[in-house]
Symmetry: none
């Protein structure tokens, strides 16, 4: 017992120190992405790498590993949250124990080069400029998989486990097959329907200053705490929890696309609500980053899609839109606003997709990644495969690599991430149904009252997010096993109504 | 020789590492002052203190001190810039040799807490919320003074030496007495004059977006390099060089006070021009922060006051103002614009003061600081003293602490800084006269051509700023000893003309 307490004290002190470095890294990275001038980036990147390495040295020291492994072995002597901390540290240790510093450095260099190559390739819309790096990234991922002690049925399972622990290709195949079974016929019906949806007003010019004021209004409305967070702009929006009382939301204003910012702010605001409302004890026990990517994404997409794109919420928001932008949208009715925001239109760019076709973009990436990792598909064949899949699922074909295989940055640093976007949608449809058993969600949305929803999320969704693996977490909230059914029923109901389908 | 080179290598490596921590501290501090939410400040302050202490530990290690002292003793074996580095390190060593890491950390924590308290106190306009912290800051300063080996005639001399090395209360008393002798009668004549200056247009509403566009224009005009710097907003504008290629300017937009931003941007832009144009070798030899505060302030005030408030520059700027804000100032003539911008009016807020009454604000702070440090005046008596001095020198009295003793942030991190603002005005009046011997400054300003002025500044003012102590530096530029005469003559000439005084 005394030995365990000593190890605990050592581990906690070490993590405390590592966290100070990591906090600084978050601030530096946030600065880099939001305001750092171009010629200042290199030096700032070097400082970030230096501090990151200081943190790394703390948790990779042989003393630290010895103590955290001791804690793990004696975890039943610990209080529950320290047990979770010990498990998370042990998992991190196993994940990287066979990765030598030399190989680790090689990985960094390959990913850095790959990112630069991707930027250049996308700019030139020339896949051949990215292919050699992409092959190296794939080989690095395969090497990382082979270095794992843990055995997986399929190589890709190891990558899925990295982002959504406990999930496998078997789970995902079942999930995405169900999606295809329902969504392919649904999309066919929609494209065949003669419903006309007005979208002309979506590209009207809206002054940035007024969009900014609207962003602040939206964040306040959904419950974002401005004393513990801030919003600013960046190229590719993200949210980062810099500290326990500091959640940073970023957005990107487009003069001719005001709904882009509207839903970006609510999406990123959703991430931030989790950062601001997760249990303080999770910070005290260093497990505040223990949530999976799919779980985090479920929350942002819950606020963005399940809530903010709903008929009830638009009925609340419509008069506000008229208040902020009345001179611009005076001729647009509430119904037209709702329909325009939710119009389904197969398109090439994932980040611009509507709620329904979005899942196809993820299915395509999932199938591509399985081919790349499990089947070692030839790298030079990938653009052709990509284009075939877009034609198959969405009936459209990219004309350029820029709007096709080169559109996303993710592959420049490995595979396995994309699926979390789709899984998140399924989680939140499940907990939305559970929430509806206890709250009149539609009523609350129609009067713009988020407080009871936020409280419910805090109590049911956020409270256990860092403490349970995804499958146990969603079962804990809903009493049911993970299933795509709620998500698919939601889509069928919503779009059947919108497009007058039988 | 070999030992010296070994010591040099060790010192340089250590400084390189310390600089990475310091870079991070600058970014954290910049973030804290520009966007960090109120409740995130405490944690960010702690991280800042932690990193600052890591840097401090490097330069306070016994090995480092041994090596840098060795270098100092053998400095004649070093090349000139390394000699300067060795001298600066030796000076730092002497200044802090009796300050333990524990005490240093305590200082950081007190200053951070004091800053937060000042923010809250100013917001509530309640001095009592700041007084306990202010007392701690004063006691820290007294403790720091008592820990110095060097003996000073007065305790406050130690603080002056910190910001403006080589200067003393004796110098400053002489300087400010000369100022009072000239400026008190000048101000009396002005307030008694029957000259009517139109100022109604100064408080017209100017949309923030257009002020922002104007700021970018102004920074570009004076030569600011946007690939190596950025501008954003803050409560109390400042400039910080985060790295060799990264100078950050901040400003504050007031809808009803457009000239506030105009001159803030040019003032802060002046600081940034120094950051962007100091010799690269000064970075290589770790002496890039060796400039005194008064010297730095002389540059910002040179651009803001000597240049941008001049008749010649306003004749260039007037059509630009009409271009940016024509609908707002169409009825204002060029002469009215010049006069309005330069109108003299005793006021309570230092940062809003005109060029003439500004010096009185500094005299008041100088006299207050001498009372606080040399006389240990009771902290609870300070607001009363403050108000009395405003009445004595400017004939007006603050009604609230917010527009009185709480207006400035500076005292939350110690005393001795304010005087550098006034000294800077005297330096730049001296080098303006020198510049005028070589350049047709009025002509250049009247056509908005800053390039030759910037080049002259780079060659004469910036080149030696890190390399010489203030008194030698100004003598090197002008060939004359430091004197308030140029500054006072400048003010008398300018305001006698403006107010038709005999």
């Amino acid at each position: 017992m005394i030995e365990t307490q000593k190890a605990l004290a050592f581990v906690r002190n070490s993590l405390q120190e590592a966290e100070q470095y990591q906090h600084a890294c978050h601030v530096l990275n946030y600065d880099l992405e939001t305001i750092c001038p171009p010629k200042g980036m290199e030096e700032q990147g070097e400082v970030n790498a230096f501090l990151s390495n200081q943190a790394f040295k703390i948790v990779k020291s042989s003393r630290f590993i010895k103590e955290e492994e001791y804690l793990y072995e004696h975890r039943n002597e610990l209080e529950p949250l320290d047990q979770l901390m010990a498990q998370a540290l042990h998992r991190d240790y196993l994940r990287s124990k066979n990765i030598t510093p030399a190989f680790n450095k090689k990985i960094s260099l390959i990913f850095n080069k790959s990112f630069v190559d991707w930027v250049n390739a996308k700019q030139a819309s020339d896949y051949s400029l990215f292919a050699p790096s992409l092959k190296k990234v794939r080989d690095v991922d395969l090497k990382i998989i082979s270095l794992r002690d843990q055995k997986y049925a399929l190589p890709y399972d190891a990558l899925v486990d990295e982002y959504e622990r406990g999930m496998t290709c078997a789970d995902l195949d079942k999930f995405f097959n169900a999606c295809k079974e329902t969504l392919i016929p649904l999309l066919k019906k929609i494209t065949a329907s003669d419903k006309k949806i007005r979208t002309d007003f979506l590209s009207r010019k809206v002054p940035l200053e007024r969009q900014k004021a609207f962003s602040d209004y939206l964040l306040k409305l959904i419950g974002f705490d401005f004393t513990r967070g801030a919003i600013t702009t960046t190229e590719h929006p993200f949210t980062d929890g810099l500290g326990r009382n500091d959640a940073r939301v970023t957005t990107h204003y487009y003069e001719n696309n005001f709904i882009s910012n509207l839903f970006t702010v609510i999406h990123e605001g959703g991430h931030a609500l989790f950062e601001q409302n997760q249990p303080g004890e999770d910070y005290d026990h260093f497990i505040h980053d223990n949530i999976s990517y799919g779980m985090h994404e479920s929350i942002s997409r819950f606020y963005e899609n399940r809530l903010a794109r709903s008929r009830s919420f638009i009925s609340f928001l419509y008069p506000k839109i008229q208040e902020f932008f009345g001179d611009i949208f005076a001729d647009v009715s509430e119904e037209e606003m709702y329909e325009g925001i939710n119009a389904v239109e197969p398109s090439l760019i994932r980040t611009e997709a509507d709620e329904l076709t979005y899942t196809f973009h993820i299915i395509i990436r999932y199938e591509m990644e399985k081919l790349i990792i499990n089947e070692k598909a030839p790298i030079n064949k990938l653009p052709k495969l990509w284009n075939q899949k877009y034609e198959e699922y969405l009936g459209i074909k990219p004309k350029t690599a820029k709007e096709g295989i080169l559109q996303d940055v993710h592959w420049s640093s490995g595979f396995g991430y994309f699926t979390t976007y789709a899984i998140g949608n399924a989680y939140n449809a499940m907990y939305l149904n559970k929430m509806k058993e206890e709250l009149d969600v539609e009523k609350l949305l129609s009067i713009g009252n988020f407080a009871p929803i936020d409280s419910w999320m805090k109590e049911h969704v956020f409270a256990t997010a860092n403490r349970l693996p995804p499958k146990e977490w969603i079962k804990g909230i809903t009493g049911r096993e993970f299933t795509p059914d709620d998500f698919l029923t939601y889509l069928v109901d919503k779009y059947s109504a919108l497009y007058n389908l039988k």
